[in-house]
């Protein structure tokens, strides 16, 4: 219902009239709900484009392929913030299946389960069976590696991976790298990639043409968002130094259960909403963790991310969509 949604967006724009922000300039004020944000990189220069139409129309023209990022399904969680995380994951899958362009695959950026229990992984797999894209790539979150050094996770999702589950693959000229930064963490520290994985990454990227678009995905953000809450990775700088020479690098993360985006030259960072429960914005609560919202709001703060790749422009457009089908919610603040 494009008219209804357009009215909603117009109304929201009027609500912030006192900012003196007009339709073109509203990107400056990222603190309101109701817009999807599309970042594209063209020739190394980020171009952000306001995107106010319904998610059903958000297939970027000329996209050569697309994939969807989902994250933090936390199957097994059953507290007030969301008593039925399987149902909201099912809704996310319905939204994926409703996309007009069928995504080539799905990337799950971790915290598949709540407690690494076999029953939780079973339920996840069962639920994902109803997704149209059959190819699903995973990286583990800290909730997935709780038993026997991640035995349960690696048995199910670790085929062909190295170490704690890292790997890479290529799709239509884009090089994807799944990284694991949730094991062997040090007391007082943040996420960690570790020496072995960094060595492997350097080697994996060697010799690739700088015009190859790169997508890195890992659970904990690979940029420092909020260290007090562990939202960062201690040795990500080294990893990012390996991709510095490439013309287009997109980093996809989860863990924080809200959308945050940052563009630094040719490098763009994006964190996804959870399909299970939201978390507070940095510093706005005593700690991180499940944040309860009014029941009618829940589907607005959970969501999926649609990523469209344009071969000609060698750029990726990242579009977040809440589960309720409205345009993406706020919190697209840049970190530092």
């Amino acid at each position: 219902m494009p008219n209804k949604k357009q009215d909603f967006i117009d109304q929201k724009l009027q609500d912030i009239n006192n900012d003196g922000v007009d339709r073109r300039g509203f990107l400056k004020c990222m603190a309101w709900a109701g817009t999807g944000l599309v970042w594209t990189l063209s020739g190394g220069i980020p171009i952000s484009r306001a995107f106010g139409r319904s998610p059903e129309k958000n297939a970027v023209k000329g996209a050569d392929f697309s994939f969807v990022q989902i994250s933090d399904s936390h199957i097994g969680f059953n507290k007030p913030a969301n008593p039925d995380v399987t149902a909201t994951l099912q809704t996310a899958i319905s939204r994926i299946n409703a996309l007009p362009h069928s995504p080539d695959f799905i990337i799950h950026t971790g915290d598949l389960s709540q407690l690494s229990k076999p029953s939780e992984f079973d339920t996840l797999d069962q639920t994902l069976k109803s997704a149209n894209p059959k190819q699903i790539y995973f990286v583990p979150g800290e909730h997935d590696m709780l038993t026997d050094n991640g035995e349960q996770y690696l048995q199910r999702y670790g085929k062909g991976t190295k170490g704690a589950g890292w790997y890479s693959f290529d799709q239509k000229g884009v090089h994807f790298v799944g990284l694991v930064n949730v094991v062997n963490l040090k007391a007082g520290g943040l996420g960690s990639l570790g020496h072995d994985q960094l060595e492997w990454l350097e080697d994996d990227l060697k010799g690739r043409s700088a015009s190859t678009p790169i997508v890195l995905f890992a659970h904990i953000p690979l940029w420092t968002i909020y260290p007090d809450w562990g939202w960062g990775t201690d040795d990500s700088e080294q990893a990012l130094s390996y991709v510095k020479r490439f013309g287009s690098v997109t980093v996809l993360n989860g863990h924080i259960h809200q959308v945050m985006q940052k563009v630094e030259g040719k490098l763009s960072f994006h964190t996804a909403m959870s399909t299970a429960f939201p978390q507070p914005a940095p510093g706005t609560a005593p700690s991180a963790g499940p944040m309860k919202v009014p029941p009618e709001q829940l589907q607005k703060v959970l969501g999926i991310t649609d990523v469209n790749y344009m071969v000609s422009g060698k750029s990726l457009a990242v579009i977040d969509s809440p589960l309720d089908g409205s345009s993406a919610s706020a919190s697209g603040k840049s970190g530092d």
């Binding site: 038993t147 949730v182 007391a187 007082g188 562990g230 700690s287 944040m291």
Partner: protein, 135 residues
């Protein structure tokens, strides 16, 4: 449970409440403090100063409370997870390691030797604490 006399300051998780004059324990128990993060998460019965020389460590809001606990050699320390997210208790020196503790689950460890035993949550390593064991 310790008897608390005149309470000068209290750590409350909800909005700051202004109290003038004498505050009694009764008033604290009656206050319906609610978590800023999750509704329906009841606060501890008496939000007083942490039990620095007891044998229990509470885990809540991504923190160990008390963060530092002092016990005599031979004491069993009990960690209880009151948070709505699982946590672990891992010795920084590999001396003990709990399973993932869901809400209301416990981990116990008996400290036989005097010394200092730093620990952390291996899921959320910013959460740190220490057990000091005296002879």
């Amino acid at each position: 449970m310790k008897t608390i006399g005149m309470i000068k300051s209290v750590v409350v998780r909800s909005k700051a409440l202004a109290f003038a004059g004498v505050m009694s324990t009764l008033m604290f128990c009656a206050v319906a403090a609610h978590s800023a993060r999750v509704a329906g998460n009841p606060p501890s019965a008496a939000a007083g100063p942490p039990a620095a020389t007891g044998t229990e460590v509470n885990i809540d809001n991504f923190a160990f409370n008390p963060a530092v606990i002092t016990v005599k050699a031979g004491t069993q320390v009990i960690w209880i997870n009151k948070d709505d997210i699982p946590h672990t208790v891992d010795s920084s020196e590999g001396k003990f390691k709990s399973a993932a503790l869901d809400t209301d689950e416990k981990f116990e460890f008996k400290f036989s030797e005097p010394g200092e035993y730093p620990f952390f949550c291996r899921m959320h390593p910013k959460m740190t604490g220490k057990v000091i064991v005296q002879p």
